[in-house]
């Protein structure tokens, strides 16, 4: 673990860019990122929501010990969320390092471990003692599974996980029991959204055990045509099977999206060009812009880049912008609280700078 104080860690986070946003992973013209998270608990200690203060502290200190001792975590940081302002916590949410629930919960000794590349994050004392998350750019669940499995094994060497032979990993919420695994893929589906094909797909996949969420996970709205598809079922299947099934389902969605993109390119190329270029024009010119409008326009511009209609900016720039324009991130960059109107002004400046830069 690196030994830095809170403000230094946050300062670095403001300047750093998560590797998963680089737009260079497999199928990154449709797949923004892949993610796996594992829910784990320490045997003999109540799940965090019912744990006493001393027990929560125990878990937090245990985490510190693990990441201090293992070289796998040598470039990682540990933050105690209790010490963060609501703005700083929300910033971590927008960075996709912690959940909204974790940011807003008042429980003591909530923590967050993350590595330099922001591919790994571990939430401490969220609903479970450990929520280990690994994120990569594009479609690469198998790679993630290898990486996160190694991390899981390292931790398991130091602590005894709550585990039952019959049920598998025990978790705070019964929906996670078994593998404790949630795998998800973030898709950009502007073509399906344009032809109103999204709802049919969402209905179909929810019937077979998958769930679709927005850009910031559970309980968040879809914005910028970004859909996070993940497995619902954690029990009765191996991790490899869950990953395999999720990839197959996503491959079908991706194929549908690709087909509609081809059709649109044949039949409505001018309209697509117009849409992408107008988005570019507004983003590179506006002086006031809300995050909702910006996400919508970034999606349209991204669609143009994905289709090869417009060559600039790079997908990675657009991915990064989707994070930077969020309210807390903006305020962290400004170094102060900003009212909504000031945010809309700052957001416009930031976007112009990144789009034309």
């Amino acid at each position: 673990m690196q030994n830095k104080d809170k403000s230094k860690i946050l300062q670095n986070l403001k300047e750093s860019t998560a590797e998963w946003t680089n737009g260079q992973g497999p199928l990154s013209d449709i797949v923004i990122s892949s993610r796996i998270r594992l829910a784990r608990n320490v045997e003999g200690i109540p799940f965090s929501p019912r744990a006493e203060k001393a027990e929560l502290k125990n878990i937090f200190e245990l985490s510190r010990q693990v990441i201090e001792e293992d070289s796998l975590f040598k470039d990682s940081n540990l933050l105690l969320l209790d010490e963060l302002t609501p703005l700083e916590s929300q910033f971590l949410v927008e960075k996709h390092l912690i959940s909204i629930y974790h940011a807003r919960e008042k429980r003591l000794y909530r923590g967050c471990v993350f590595n330099q590349k922001e591919t790994l994050s571990i939430m401490i004392n969220e609903e479970d003692h450990f929520r280990i998350q690994y994120l990569l750019s594009g479609l690469q669940l198998n790679n993630i599974w290898e990486l996160i499995n190694e991390i899981d094994n390292k931790i398991e060497k130091k602590v005894t996980y709550a585990f039952s032979e019959k049920e598998g990993y025990l978790t705070s919420c019964p929906t996670n029991v078994g593998t404790g695994m949630r795998a998800s893929i973030m898709l950009h589906l502007p073509a399906l959204a344009m032809v109103n094909g999204i709802n049919d797909i969402l209905k179909a996949i929810s019937k077979i055990g998958y769930v679709v969420r927005g850009f910031y996970g559970e309980g968040t709205e879809v914005m910028g045509n970004l859909f996070q598809v993940s497995n619902q079922i954690t029990l009765g299947l191996s991790e490899e099977e869950i990953i395999d099934n999720l990839e197959k389902v996503n491959q079908q969605i991706i194929n549908k999206e690709k087909k509609i993109r081809r059709d649109l390119l044949s039949n409505s190329k001018s309209q697509l060009e117009d849409q992408a270029w107008r988005a570019y024009g507004i983003l590179s010119s506006a002086r006031i812009i809300s995050s909702a409008e910006a996400m919508e326009l970034l999606s349209k511009l991204r669609f143009g880049v994905e289709l090869g209609i417009i060559s600039h900016p790079k997908l990675g720039t657009l991915n990064k912008l989707m994070l930077l324009i969020q309210p807390a991130y903006l305020q962290m960059l400004a170094g102060k609280d900003l009212d909504p109107f000031s945010r809309d002004l700052q957001r416009a400046i930031l976007i112009r700078d990144k789009i034309s830069g």
Copy 2:
């Protein structure tokens, strides 16, 4: 008169720019142009709508003679509208050289005389035998009156006008009897339009004998926040009085517009900047654009330029664009008929070229 054939004359017209669009006249941050037209008829010949073919021909030949003989018309052209296609006639309308009525009427021997700078145009055998029009940039009715009066005197030396001591100049429509003069001022009133102050003003001035029309005069809609204010009354006042009164009325409207502009600049500068820059962004990026949307955006961009919020493009460029993007002008530039969708594509190309050029 210059001796050129129809196609050469039209070719020149496509390439030329009317002086009144240069955006350099007095108060051109609000006043696009000033215009006076005189309705005149030749004594002893029925008004054009009731004239025989031979009489119409007579008027046309008389016009040719006048402009051939007088050096005042040495750089002028004469077109016989009967020879023009509907597209070419509509192009002259969009150039503000003839009225819609003159373009669409089927009467024989309709003509149009205009000079190199397109400040002067004379419609022959419109509703009256001669409709003499003079246009200049900005607010300069007095200058126009001097210039058009000189032209009127020159013509009167060659022909005897239908005139009664009691009523003044006799005209085809009774509303023009007297001076036969209509003076008008084309105003750009985006601030009044923004605060919904336009309707009150229109109501007020119509009660005192003024009329408001759109960008292409009688029977045309207001677009791009451009309002043409002209006198209704032609009888019982001298030309100088009509001009003086019209200028006073317009000065009041201009003062109101200026006051609201100042207020908006104090209270909503960011919003004005945003509006102007977004218009710039869309105009310089769109791949498909209708003339209605283009006029709306050109008005917003022009407003930004007028307020000094945005320094490029020049007012003159914007004035010219308002003409160039019209359907017939676009088709003349393309050298062929274009369906509405192709026009929307061509219009976008043209605007991008002029805005960024």
